[in-house]
């Protein structure tokens, strides 16, 4: 085993020790299919939680999205996101000649699964904020990739905004049944439907 694998196992162990990182699968078994998981976003810990809740062999093919300017700013951050998580880097500055979704499309063409937080930023309300359009464009470009909603519960208590050390509190990730973009479905309608699919999982769990 190489160092990144060992570090990854350690990290998953710590995440499980602190949060339990229970994955509940309702409507979609954990299979090695190409998938886009989309979830509510409340804390920096969200990605690690989803990642730790996935079975070991799915972790290797499931990639997070990381902001390039922040996660490549120091060698350690760069190493963690590149070697352990195999993150897809996106730049936050918009340039005219570059599609911000291009790195994601590239990863999907490559056959990887992605985890995205379509709210774009961490929310503080009980319900997630309205979703950004990226999910719609990905669904349009890759109709064969499964879109799996996920609800992350309790994580805001583990690490509230501004705190660095997580408190041990049990959390769970509930994965739901895949949704699909209907032919001719409007962008707003689809995003709202996706958001409700995520919210609905709160009551399933």
């Amino acid at each position: 085993m190489k160092l990144p694998e060992v570090a990854g196992l350690c990290l998953a162990f710590i995440a499980r020790l602190i949060t339990g990182a229970q994955g509940h699968w309702y409507g979609s078994p954990p299979k090695a299919e190409q998938r886009i998981y989309f979830a509510n976003h409340q804390s920096h810990f969200d990605w690690v939680l989803i990642w730790a809740a996935l079975p070991g062999d799915l972790r290797a093919v499931t990639r997070p999205i990381a902001a390039r300017d922040y996660w490549t700013s120091s060698p350690l951050k760069h190493w963690i996101t590149r070697e352990i998580f195999n993150a897809v880097y996106v730049s936050r500055q918009r340039t005219d000649d570059e599609d911000p979704l291009e790195p994601l499309m590239e990863a999907l063409r490559h056959g990887d699964s992605l985890v995205i937080f379509p709210e774009g930023t961490r929310g503080h309300q009980a319900d997630p904020a309205t979703f950004k359009a990226g999910l719609f464009h990905l669904a349009e470009a890759f109709p064969e990739v499964q879109l799996i909603p996920a609800w992350i519960d309790n994580v805001q208590r583990v690490m509230p905004k501004g705190e660095v050390v997580p408190v041990p509190i049990l959390c769970s990730v509930t994965f739901g049944a895949p949704i699909q973009l209907q032919p001719g479905e409007d962008k707003r309608a689809f995003l709202e439907r996706a958001r409700h699919a995520v919210i609905a999982l709160r009551d399933v769990a």
């Binding site: 339990g20 229970q22 509940h24 519960d153 309790n154 208590r157 509230p160 705190e163 050390v165 408190v167 041990p168 509190i169 049990l170 959390c171 769970s172 769990a205």
Partner: protein, 322 residues
Amino acid sequence: MGSLRSLSVSQQVGLLFVVLFGLLTIVSIVAYTRSLREREPQLQERFDRFLHDLRAVWLGSVLFWVSWASGTFISTLLFGVLSFVALREFVTLTQTRRGDHRSLLLAFFVVLPVQYLIVGTQHFDLFSVFIPVYVFLAIPVVSAFGNDPQRFLERTAKIQWGVMVCVYGMSHAPALLLLDLPRYEDRGAFMVLYLVVVVAAAQIAQEAASRWLRRRPVARAISRSFSWRAWWIGALTAAIVGAALYWATPFKPIPALVMGFIAGGSGSFGEFVMRALKKDAGVRSWGGKASVTGAVGLLDRVAPLCFAAPVFFHSVRWYFGF
């Protein structure tokens, strides 16, 4: 019994584990052959619960064996991990606010390790006062720095209570392992086993008695099954079992009877209080099937022990005039 006393300590403990695992194996084999039969759904549910409990007993016994076989360091560490998991479950199911973050960190990452460090190094005077005195005062201070006056007393009390039960109560079990009693060196494992057996006997007897007697419950809103008569039956059963085990302890038969009564009775009260807490948090059992958080229901099983261990520990110390 005289021939048992003539064996060396490690031979005695070894025999204890042979008997324990032998009994467990027999019960498991019987349960397995029974499990192949079909039965009514209601009975099936009860049987499933029994299997669940049996697995817990297996796990407990294996942990107990590992902790004895691997020496005091590992056993203290194991009980520390158990404490950690129980406290995690407790905190998950109580309401805390943003301002409590620092006090929770204090509880998990400072108080818990320090308490077990004190146990491991056998500073029993500091061990008895560290949480009730120092931590009791430190937690509200840290919480106040959280700058959130809303329901301050309630939140602080909850954290303190969790630390008291899950850390302080639990840490008395390894303390029993390490307590050096006169003419009873290195046999702490028997004390822990005595405590566990007595508390379990009280629980089982009380449960059976309340089902069989169907007395009017003392506090219907909290527990449908707790009645004074059932409690007395539980505690007296613990006393009898305790007296029957006197040869394994440093006590004479009558003190062993009284110790069993004290431990069994306080364990039953612990279970009763845990029920009140569960009702308050709005869950039927800590964890269980419907739980969002996926808690494993460990707190349920260790609560009677967490209540009985400190009472028992200090009774033992008084008895021997420490």
